[in-house]
Symmetry: D2
Subunit: 306 residues, 4 copies
């Protein structure tokens, strides 16, 4: 099949839970509208930010259905669903479901309990899943900091090229710019390379990146669109200033406990999506208060979504 290259900012949505920690699909239409108002061009659901690994198979399907219901009519908003990677049978089940309900694409990562011994075994896993949905683009999700699997993606592309027609590209969440650029250059840009490190976006734009998938696009897409526009108009001092703002925002994730801080940013931005599930730690009330003060000092309202 012929795949296309995505453009712009694709948010990796959080998964909404109610106060009992149960999945709350009823929040998705509101969430979708929120992203649309901020010109987000798509969603990468059930991924790391979306706590896919903490959802049951049925919950993952329910979430996929909820996003399909409110966005399937919208040509300008592409939904891609993360399949996991460790249990290949589950990945195939989820991929077929995604195809049936009309989502745009699927994405799998490396098996992260038994790590593949070499890139060839990883390619076999991709092929087995990809062949189950031959008419749907499949992206590999490269995130070694979480999977512990860190082959050069340049090697994976060479192992898959010609072997899996619906292999579309890579969501690249890693800092190996030499590898990233080599993938971009491969066969004149045949594969779609989506940048996945919001804090380094400028360093990827200069290499030619056109699309990005990230968690901070949930609540700060305008900041990044400004950054992109500044870069494209060759106003580098402004682009650097905006990237530094993004870094300062992201630094608070480290300060307040990691990935769950994203949901706290969403709360500040006006969308309360509940807590993260175990084993992720959430802020308590007094930490949230301190966090809010830090957020104010960032001048967050000037670049946040609304």
């Amino acid at each position: 099949m012929k795949t296309t290259h995505l453009q712009g900012l694709i948010a990796a949505p959080f998964t909404p839970f109610d106060s009992n920690g149960q999945l709350d699909c009823s929040r998705i239409p509101e969430y979708y509208s929120f992203l649309k108002r901020n010109k987000v061009t798509g969603a990468f659901i059930n991924g790391s930010t979306g706590e896919g690994v903490s959802l049951t198979l049925e919950e993952k399907k329910a979430m996929a259905q909820a996003w399909a219901d409110c966005s399937n009519h919208d040509e300008d908003f592409k939904v891609m669903v993360f399949l996991g990677g460790t249990c290949i049978n589950d990945c195939i089940d989820l991929a077929k479901h995604a195809y049936e309900i009309g989502l745009y694409a699927v994405s799998l990562t490396a098996p992260f309990y038994f790590k593949p011994a070499n890139v060839e075994m990883l390619a076999q896993a991709c092929i087995m899943v990809g062949e189950s949905v031959p008419n749907m683009p499949l992206y590999y999700y490269h995130i070694p900091v979480l999977t512990g699997v860190n082959f050069p993606m340049f090697d994976l592309i060479q192992a898959l090229d010609g072997q899996l027609d619906n292999f579309a590209g890579i969501k690249y969440t890693h800092e190996d710019f030499m590898d990233f650029q080599s993938c971009m250059s491969y066969k004149d840009g045949k594969y779609d390379m989506l940048w996945g490190r919001d804090e380094n976006m400028l360093s990827a734009l200069v290499l030619g990146a056109k699309g990005a998938v990230g968690s901070t696009f949930n609540y700060a897409a305008p900041l990044y669109y400004d950054l992109i526009a500044s870069f494209e108009s060759n106003n580098l001092p402004k682009a650097r200033q905006l990237q530094q703002k993004s870094i300062n925002m992201i630094r608070l994730l480290g300060k307040y406990g990691g990935i769950s801080v994203g949901k706290a940013y969403m709360k500040v931005a006006g969308l309360d999506l509940g807590d993260f599930r175990l084993p992720v730690k959430n802020m308590n009330a007094s930490q949230f208060e301190a966090f809010q003060k830090d957020v104010q000092s960032l001048d967050f309202k000037s670049f946040k979504s609304n």
Copy 2:
């Protein structure tokens, strides 16, 4: 609840697949008899050796049911089932199922995609799962080489003690003997510490270990019972010689590709259980031939199960 300490060798069974890679539960009665003939005292199913992470939820339950069906009448054969760890809701579902069908115990490991930030978060995950089956012993499964989570178990025991009545102990698959011994000593041996590194068993026996869970007990239990008897009769030269035989046997796993070599040993021992699923690599025919020659030179038949 009051939990007991297990004794002897608990095998971690392989999961039987047919030639299409489909689960084949019909092999379990034969497998159970095979283990019984070799005096194995229990089974740790759906674990690493059992490829639990590569099975769907339904497959895990089917495997649990198959083992329950053939061993529930047998007081001298305890079946413990691995629950995973990454998705807590799945763990609870599987734990309740195990309880309903009458298995002996359950075991969970650390979430291995989002790693717990500290031992307290890990303890919370254990408590959440453990409380769902309050009348069933729960073992923590410590295997940092696969999970990437490596807190001292001495800290986890202190975090759980008094917080989870059915916490029974730890399947300890790691080489930190300082930590292992400290856990053994805790409150005069309150917790059941099951050794999980077959190649180092002698170094655990001297510290007082009484039970062990391992993959090589599937095909070489007699060797280890000899080792234990030699140790207990203070015949250390013989115990060392037997441990070295075990090491030589285990070294072939490294030589021929890792965990899947265990199923090749089973084939040599007379029980063909199929291949490992992706991403694990299996031997091809010529590798298997070379492997068989190496096995002969080990004098395998003298210590293998039959």
Copy 3:
């Protein structure tokens, strides 16, 4: 003291050995001229590329003297000498020697046997060495892949700012662009941030980097000056193409055995500086022949030094 910001390409020279593996200082004048012809603006000597850790104290001093002898008259060529890091007393000895013979600056890395427990201990080590040469710029050399010490440099800068007047900046050989940019932004660019990953230079230029230290500038400085000029004239397609050429060249280091391949490139460029010392592996004759063919296919002569 007031320190300045360096500009352009600073080569990290190889250390010349004769056929018996003995230091050969007589090659330095020729080496210096070679670099000058290629518009290199300075040298970072006795560093990783220069095998500083494999040299004795006397050899390090001899090498420093040889570079001083031929470049001290040259305002446009700055020599900075690497001090090591593990033995603080040696670092101080070497720093004082560098000052006495008139070199431009010194650089130390983190102690890499006993790693500092926190950034504060690392800062103390920097201060102890820096205070021994108060009138000489001191750069920290950040290369976690070799030292195993990976604190954010943003934290080190904050720990040193106001505590060590001659702290001038960081040679940054790592891929953490978020950290690198934060250091660049600190107090409006107070500290001199020298980029140390040749294969990613374009991603650092876009963040505002003006100076770089690298091993491939020894033999391919013209390529990088072209890259910089293309970037500065906003010809990004050409800049990317040149960066990809640099990557292809650097990929051969991986293919032929690592750091010692740099001396093979020098041989092709016309300067035979001998082999690397143990434990580094050097190519044998047939490997060198294969390497030379690969080099030809890179169109090396178009961007190499001469």
Copy 4:
């Protein structure tokens, strides 16, 4: 040359510094007598505990000379000197010096800045150093937690056997008991395997270890001799109890900041040897007070040296 197997406890001495951080060789005779009173059978000087990497070449030689001066007449006390590993020329210089002044043996570790690419390169480094002192036993010092080099020692032994006559064995400071036992078994115990993890000694004794090198033998040798005697008389409950005491003692190193806590133990035992050099952190006065209280609760005086 024919080498022998060492027996008993070999202390890894601390290096005495005065209050200005200068080497104080005058303390060695007193230190030597202290160790002799505690039946220590030798010293491994300038190693990790001895801060060899923080000493200049001249300081290392002065320390070696000081130990030679007071122990060369003593057949029952063997001094082995650590050479480092990163700079091969320095290792050779130190080895020749050790031979000239009459020390018993030398020991080198893996180069830890440029790590050897494979075991063959490591063996070449060992051979180059070993051949410089052909009439002196050479031990490899395996301590991957500090060097970052972790080849199986079973492979190194095979690479060196028959290639270096004075290769005597390995100081093994790692927890890979499978590898350790394989080395012990090699050619019926041809090589001398010295155990280097005091907290796990019992698990090594059961495998047949006869000699050990450790830092806690400086201040608690009687405890370990009791442990060995209990093991040898097959009183395992007592042996375990003593090993647990050793663990409790060692746990305070973690609690109070690592390797420098050993010098604090020495102070409590009556021998003040000064502080550790940078980058190692030393306790402040109030920490030392808290430490002393913890030491009392260990019943330290019952097993300490005196």
